[in-house]
Symmetry: C2
Subunit: 429 residues, 2 copies
């Protein structure tokens, strides 16, 4: 089984890169015993040479110049863990054109210019693998691309952002306010000082675009994804969710309509407590898949962190190295641009929480607005708030456009003081 090692060029050496360096060192013998492939770290490109010295690397391995790694003829495979679009995009394209397979953990890159990169990989006849880009250490891309390739997948719903799931878990389990939970996440290093990308759903949106692309074989980009974040959620929302039998989670949802269009969105939603996704706590991620034959599947694990992400990169790296040796490669095939379903047409159940003046006839007026827009009410609770009353509704399934029209109609009613919140509700199975 002895043959020349497969030499790995690593672009970027932050958390994930450093963890990969460690894994390559400890696992290379096992991997060789299992696969006959000897993986060897060749070159590592880092931004900050001084900082990288903490990692145990062969002498002369480090460089400041990523192009040098990509163009080094002794390097067989490239791992890109720089993040962001440029220079990652140019480096990946150069590597692919040079016939070098690329493994990347870069969701921004794939969610924005993935189609170009996949075309370049296909043209060069080499792999572009990205298991780590979607849900960190959770094997998801490979099961979707391979195990479920014969399956008619209807919907994929994921908790794909660990920061927001941590915040929501603290709000749900400990009664923390959004602000306190965010501060705690920041102090633990789960949330950035500027948490916008996480809490407003941009990160989950990029992942949703990639998930939709693989699940349905069409090209969806980050800009296609409708997204709402969790920064508007209050402790009251959590309290009412619990009382009604739900947990609130930030979900990335990709689904295919019967006419072949694809709807992709990120928003907080109320999930029945018995739903497998409702029990996913702290910074864990999980992706729930519904298919015609297979029924319900869920994949659960760590969506971020050096170790889990490096584990996914390593799985891809072994695959890419094997394919390089055998002269084969995995292909996503042609991915036509997705026909998107506008958010207005998405059907869901909804939770509405209104503060109204407490006088006779108000419920009649409010329910009239629902009726006017064809929205059917599944349940209603009323509670007194001194001079006011609170009305909490769960609707039957309705199109988003009808709910938005209902919200505008309610806003116009004198008797409605405030629409405290509107959340989509995932129907129980």
């Amino acid at each position: 089984m002895t043959s020349a090692p497969v030499r790995v060029g690593l672009l970027g050496c932050g958390n994930v890169g450093a963890a990969l360096v460690g894994l390559l060192a400890t696992q290379a013998d096992d991997i060789e015993a299992r696969t006959g492939l000897r993986l060897e770290l060749g070159r590592v490109a880092v931004r900050n040479l001084a900082r990288a010295r903490a990692i145990d690397l062969p002498t002369g391995c480090l460089t400041h110049d990523a192009n040098e790694v990509v163009n080094d003829p002794s390097i067989d495979v490239i791992v890109e863990v720089i993040g962001g679009i440029e220079p990652a995009r140019s480096l990946v394209l150069d590597a692919l054109k040079a016939g070098k397979p690329v493994v990347t953990a870069n969701k921004e890159l794939l969610a924005n210019v993935g189609a170009d990169l996949f075309a370049a990989a296909d043209a060069a006849g080499v792999d572009l693998l990205f298991e780590a880009a979607v849900a960190g250490g959770i094997p998801l891309v490979r099961p979707l691309r391979e195990s479920l390739i014969g399956e008619r997948v209807r919907r994929v719903m994921g908790i794909v952002n660990g920061t927001t799931n941590y915040i929501l878990t603290r709000m749900s389990a400990d009664g923390a306010t959004y602000a306190d939970a965010l501060a705690e996440a920041q102090s633990l290093g789960y949330a950035e000082r500027d948490p916008t990308a996480d809490v407003e759903g941009y990160d989950a949106g990029a992942k949703a675009a990639i998930i939709a692309s693989i699940a349905f074989g069409v090209n969806v980009v980050a800009g296609d994804v409708y997204h709402e974040g969790i920064s508007g959620l209050t402790s009251d929302d959590i309290t009412f969710a619990h009382r009604l039998g739900y947990e609130i989670k930030l979900l990335a949802i990709a689904e295919q309509t019967d006419d072949g269009r694809v709807g992709v969105r990120v928003h907080p939603a109320m999930l029945p407590k018995g739903h497998p996704l409702a029990t996913v706590r702290d910074s864990f991620n999980a992706v729930f898949i519904e298919g015609d034959a297979v029924g319900q599947l869920m994949f659960y694990g760590r969506g971020a962190g050096g170790g889990p992400t490096a584990s996914a990169v390593l799985g891809d790296l072994i695959d890419a190295a094997g394919n390089l040796r055998s002269g084969s490669h995995a292909s996503l095939g042609r991915m036509p641009r997705a026909e998107l379903q506008p958010i207005d047409e998405v059907r869901s159940e909804y939770y509405l929480n209104l503060e109204v003046v407490d006088r006779p006839g108000v419920l009649h007026a409010v329910s009239g607005v629902f009726a006017e827009h064809g929205v059917s009410i599944r349940s209603m609770e009323q509670e007194g708030l001194g001079d006011e009353a609170r009305l909490v509704f769960i609707t039957h399934e309705a199109p988003e456009s009808a709910i938005q029209a209902t919200l505008r109609g309610l806003d116009d009613l004198d008797a409605v003081d405030r629409i405290s919140s509107m959340l989509r509700v995932i129907a129980g199975s």
Copy 2:
């Protein structure tokens, strides 16, 4: 992309076979569009020709003689869903020797003579794929074999028998007795009239052997697996589990010790309510994996049933067809016989429930037996039962041999009327 179809020979046409026939009919166009492979059902061998007429099959496709299908030169790939060891074993070996890849859903076959079959597949240079044999529709074999091939997997714990999980869910959620829950499972078709294979852990044991083999790259057979079933569990056990913060699940556990030995066992266990496996309800299956780099993973879905199992078979079939076309094949590599860890050496926390005479000094005598065998008590509860008292212990981690010695010592005490139950406890993470 047009090339000759890949012709499938199907051995067995029960629930899974019939579902596969349906999937091949509805999905063939999609599969061809995505992969360039045209799958075509060639021949189907059934035991009962009359019964098989309900399925929509091409004329002349059916035969009573499975050998005819295997030896038909127009058949490229064999799907074996007969179950049991013979004639499945001979048929699979004949197919492999003839250079035909085989996809099987047959856990008995793999858990008993898998090593021979994998060697035959390697010798012939073709695939022997078996995703459907372990956890039905859940992608598990492929993630373990491919995504996690670079991962140091420490432990795999699964709920891999839907019948027993259904029974335990009824006992836990509805307070049903074991007998009533079993009767309900039988009336719903989840349990056989003779439920032994499910409720005594034989089915889960076969799956545990396969899981251990893939996870650790060593050959484990069904006979290596220590197993206990759920037929001795009582409503009291469930009540105490809940009171202490646990759910009871039948777990298949495969773990590797630091010295490379493999422990494989099936038994009911108390799982902390916050553990992802504790929330797996009804007839769903789930497999929880712990690895050094990736941390905790869980795969959840339908472990049985025609549709889910056929979905897994189809994923393998597409893979095998592609590999056949490209002249490659997946290999498990050499699998040396596992060095097994005896059950006596397994370390766990334990739950013990004793009925004792209610007089001073009894707790002192009982705790003396624990101490004598080096078993440390983590918590104890005592409750009165008229003339008797009930003592409920949770121990710290101890080797099985020490617990067994403790149980014998307790049995010898005059003050102990009855050891109501002993259950292993999975430590919280």
